[in-house]
């Protein structure tokens, strides 16, 4: 990731089982488990510090339910 680029984090809350692995592995504390529950009764992650995300991809690699991923915003890509 280049300085000045913005990262967008996507969460599919209906796929989440609330294991909390994404929250535990995130080194920059971007995520937090929500207080509300999804339709399955699990607390899903929410983004609290979006500007801190480094797009390391750990949350995407560790999520067992394919519910979270991050991409660089197209508008902020240089050139």
């Amino acid at each position: 990731m280049i300085k000045g680029q913005k990262v967008e984090v996507f969460v599919l809350k209906e796929r989440c089982k609330g294991c909390g692995i994404c929250v535990a592995v995130c080194q920059t504390e971007v995520l937090e488990l929500s207080k509300e529950k999804n339709s399955l009764g699990y607390r899903h992650p929410v983004v609290i510090n979006a500007d801190r995300c480094l797009n390391c991809g750990l949350c995407e690699m560790f999520c067992p339910d394919f519910a979270i991923w991050a991409t660089i915003e197209k508008e902020s890509v240089l050139g």
Binding site: V9, M61, C63, P64, F66
Partner: protein, 255 residues
């Protein structure tokens, strides 16, 4: 938070079956995610990958979530050998766990290893049936929480056995070493001959009652903390006991 509704690997998944069937905090989901991400990075065509499993235990449900060619049979290694002989171009991946070895015996595994069949076998070791070292039938297991006994004994050394039977690639990781696991899966798929990758993953159902491992993340973190990466370590001295020191790494890579 974005509102995009498709995950980058959704094309390789049965999205209608998500969330996955495994317990929150189980390592199998991470292994499947790592496997799918590896396939995407390798840019292998979808029709050249074949997943074979026995359908037994939690590992058998992997094919339930992948929209690749799936074969579920009683003896996965025998089927893998036949399939590879008929379709030498396709990449055959066998997912199995200790329950498979308990129920359908180890003969098929040793047979494909002896013959050097080009298969990548991913073994998820959750110490549920304590691979071959208890030598107990399922009916001998005590499933009640109070009376269950965990007797530390030397676990059967599967990497050592398979090295002596001619495996060409042997590695062992935990789910939290997912980047290294990803490299191993890639090498295992591309390597000619029999490749064996062991993933040591906690079973929450079995160890939840012990009370010494904290919440679901801590249980997996314990394996990460107790693991030492020693690539090229002699497989004769591999020592595994659940919740004890674990040696992981790439042990064998025959040229």
């Amino acid at each position: 938070m974005g509102t995009q509704q498709t995950h980058p690997v959704d094309a390789l998944l049965h999205t209608e079956n998500l969330p996955t069937i495994w317990c929150p905090g189980c390592g199998i989901g991470i292994v499947v995610n790592t496997f799918i991400q590896t396939l995407k990075r390798m840019k292998i065509k979808k029709d050249k990958i074949v997943i074979i499993s026995s359908g037994l235990s939690c590992t058998g449900k992997i094919s339930h979530h992948l929209s690749l060619k799936n074969i579920i049979v009683e003896k996965p290694f025998d089927e893998a050998k036949k399939f590879k002989e008929k379709n030498p171009q396709s990449k055959v991946i066998v997912f199995f766990s200790d329950s498979d070895l308990m129920v359908s015996s180890i003969d098929g595994l040793l047979d494909v290893c002896d013959k050097g069949t080009d298969i990548c076998a991913i073994y998820i070791n959750s110490f549920v049936c304590s691979t071959l070292f208890f030598h107990k039938k399922f009916t001998d297991f005590n499933f009640s929480r109070k009376d269950r006994k965990f007797e530390p004994k030397a676990v059967f050394n599967l990497p050592h056995l398979l090295k002596n039977h001619g495996a060409s690639y042997i590695a062992r990781w935990t789910p939290l070493h997912c980047r290294r696991l990803s490299y191993s899966i890639k090498e295992g798929i591309l390597k000619p001959g029999f490749s064996f990758i062991e993933v040591i993953s906690p079973c929450l159902m079995y160890y939840a009652s012990r009370g010494c491992e904290g919440n679901n993340i801590d249980r997996m973190g314990n394996y990460l903390k107790n693991a030492t990466i020693e690539n090229g370590h002699p497989v004769e001295n591999l020592y595994t006991e659940e919740m004890e020191h674990i040696i992981i790494g790439k042990f064998l890579d025959r040229a």
